[in-house]
């Protein structure tokens, strides 16, 4: 059985198409990332899959349950860590977890046992008995994760799990997510606009832009399919037109030069680089420095959409909300 299935899923708000007929599957046990800029429709997809909003058309199933007709069953098998911080500041960490357990109708002794189990994994120690308002951003996120796992969900949804956290905390959150996914055997479905995180942590990613899925595969396969290797040279041109000189190198996909710096996009950089160097040197160009970079998911996104991933149009409320969240995380 698939953990998540979507087919021709569409969500329209007024005259804005937030999700434009997307179809994809997520396998059981996978760490799956939905990757795209703000406003691409990522959160809408998560909201549909977690039964928070109804799709305009199309079908979505979680663990085989339809999100429209079997909401109760879907809710029982999922855990959600929303983008917002939803642990209650006024309660202690422990009280938050007990509340969470009660929401899933867990009997008291089972709840106690599960709380102990998840606590072992998130390293909150004695802080669990302090009010959440004294926690750092990373501690809150970890508590949130623990809460979402308390009822042993089959699919864990993480919406921008590391937004607003500093780099070190981001890394540690990922360590937790991956460990939990492995030890609890849950399928992780996450959204992010941090390309590097998706690259390092996801088994497969779907690149979504303006409500449509542009590509879906493992980060490695995507990079080799859509990203070009980048070759950067520092040269002294000696009056030679580099573009003309290199124009017919096979595998060369683009060339730009800024004074002494030359940027080359190439397919199969390992073969292109010796050829380029050979031509430059034999025609009298002085090469001072060479650097080659393998593609990143950023470049995959760019070659798929023609744009860099960046914060696109967001509503005022969204921006305020994001700032507000970040402030709370840093408090």
């Amino acid at each position: 059985m698939k953990a998540v299935e979507c087919s021709s899923l569409k969500k329209v708000y007024g005259n804005v198409v937030a999700v434009d007929g997307i179809s994809f599957d997520v396998e059981e046990g996978e760490v799956f990332g939905l990757l795209g800029p703000n406003g691409a429709g990522k959160t809408t997809v998560i909201n549909v899959l977690t039964t928070l909003i109804r799709p305009t058309s199309g079908v979505a199933r979680v663990c085989g349950y339809d999100v429209l007709t079997q909401q109760g069953s879907v809710r029982r098998v999922i855990g959600l860590v929303p983008q917002d911080l939803t642990v209650d500041d006024e309660l202690t960490g422990m009280e938050n977890l007990r509340l969470q357990a009660a929401l899933y109708h867990m009997p008291k002794d089972l709840a106690r046992k599960r709380i102990e189990e998840v606590l072992e994994q998130i390293d909150l120690n004695e802080a669990i008995h302090r009010k959440v308002s004294t926690y750092s951003g990373g501690m809150r996120k970890r508590l949130e994760l623990a809460g979402a796992l308390i009822h042993r969900p089959k699919v864990l949804f993480l919406d921008e799990p590391t937004l607003g956290l500093d780099v070190q905390t981001r890394t540690s959150i990922w360590t937790y997510v991956k460990r939990l996914a492995r030890e609890e055997g849950v399928t992780v479905f996450m959204t992010t606009h941090y390309m590097d995180e998706a690259d390092a942590n996801c088994d497969r990613v779907a690149i979504i832009d303006r409500g449509q899925i542009k590509a879906i595969d493992s980060p490695r396969a995507l990079k080799s399919r859509f990203g070009y290797d980048a070759i950067e040279l520092e040269v002294v041109q000696n009056g030679i037109d580099l573009k003309e000189l290199l124009s017919n190198v096979s595998g060369l996909k683009g060339i730009e030069s800024y004074n002494s710096r030359v940027l080359i996009k190439a397919e199969g950089g390992e073969e292109v680089l010796p050829e380029v160097l050979g031509r430059l040197i034999s025609s009298g160009v002085t090469v001072n420095r060479v650097e080659m970079r393998k593609p990143t998911l950023d470049e995959v996104f760019m070659s798929l959409t023609g744009r860099r991933i960046r914060d696109e149009h967001s509503s005022k409320e969204e921006v305020l909300k994001q700032r507000f969240n970040i402030r709370r995380l840093r408090a």
């Binding site: 977690t50 039964t51 928070l52 909003i53 109804r54 109760g72 809710r75 029982r76 999922i78 959600l80 929303p82 983008q83 917002d84 911080l85 939803t86 209650d88 006024e90 309660l91 009280e95 007990r98 509340l99 009660a102 929401l103 899933y104 109708h105 409320e317 909300k321 507000f324």
Partner: protein, 288 residues
């Protein structure tokens, strides 16, 4: 569902107990009203005869004047023994229920803004539990605050003359019904509002008109004719009347009248709960 509601109420009540400052701050307004307005304005004091006049009046006319004054006091304030401070204080015990209930939407607005509502909605619990726990928590908070207002009033000199524990219980039942009614309406509306600032505006829009058209500050008998119909449909009037007569009127407590007020409040509250949960359920479940 009972487990869900009690878990969610547990959260609300913990927050209530943990922020006593908030509890006290909400009380400042009613206490100022009764302490300053109630003591200074002293409407009932106008019906007392000054000492120097007292000695100069012939005994016969003294009896006539004082019985006329007593009749007037009874007509306006329900009993010749009631002083204006006690009158306003019992009114404020009702008004704070209004204030607390009308601002009950605040906690919904925050839960929404913080995304807590979404977490609840993604959990396998009844949507009614979410609304019900908010309404009940707001009613409990209103009762606590109202009880504190009464205690403060007693400390400040309220002349307590209760009609027995049952009557007092009826008085607070009236307040609870009022709170449940107003909270369900406000919570249903707040769930719909995208912007929490509207909720503050709405709350302020309701608070003062409901207070001034009720019998919180002045007796129904001196309210002008054009306003009296409003006073009579204002649920706050009904709640205050029951509480006031149970706390102040002693033996002249009118059980039948109180039961009538309670029936009105029960009907109003049932209507609000049905309409409120219908809309709240729709908002939480439907097209969003």
């Amino acid at each position: 569902m009972i487990g869900e509601v009690s878990a969610l109420m547990g959260r609300e009540l913990r927050k209530l107990v943990r922020s006593p400052a908030l509890l006290l701050m909400t009380m400042i307004q009613p206490v100022l009203w009764m302490g300053l307005y109630g003591k200074a304005f002293n409407l009932t004091g106008m019906f007392s005869i000054p000492e120097d006049l007292l000695s100069r009046l012939p005994p016969d006319s003294l009896r006539v004047v004082s019985s006329a004054f007593n009749a007037a006091l009874t007509r306006f304030f329900g009993s010749p023994e009631v002083d204006y401070f006690s009158y306003v204080a019992t009114g404020m015990a009702g008004v704070i229920v209004l204030f607390v209930s009308v601002f009950s939407g605040m906690s919904v607005a925050w839960d929404r803004r913080l995304g807590f509502i979404n977490k609840l909605l993604a959990a396998p619990i009844s949507r009614f539990s979410i609304v019900l726990s908010k309404v009940l928590a707001s009613a409990v908070r209103a009762m606590v605050q109202s009880g504190l207002v009464v205690l403060t009033a007693i400390a400040l000199g309220l002349r307590l003359d209760t009609a027995g524990p049952v009557a007092v219980l009826l008085g607070f039942t009236a307040l609870a019904l009022l709170s449940i009614a107003l909270s369900s309406l406000i919570i249903a509306i707040t769930l719909r509002l995208k912007n929490w600032e509207y909720h503050v505006a709405l709350a302020n829009l309701l608070n003062l008109p409901l207070m001034f058209t009720s019998s919180a500050l002045y007796p129904r008998a001196i309210i002008p004719d054009w306003m009296r119909p409003i006073t009579d449909i204002n649920p706050l009037t009904h709640a205050i009347e029951v509480l006031r007569s149970s706390l102040l009127y002693g033996q002249s407590f009118d059980l039948m009248a109180s039961l009538n007020h309670l029936a009105y409040l029960a009907a109003f509250s049932a209507l609000c709960v049905v309409v409120g949960s219908y809309f709240a359920y729709g908002t939480l479940n439907a097209e969003r």
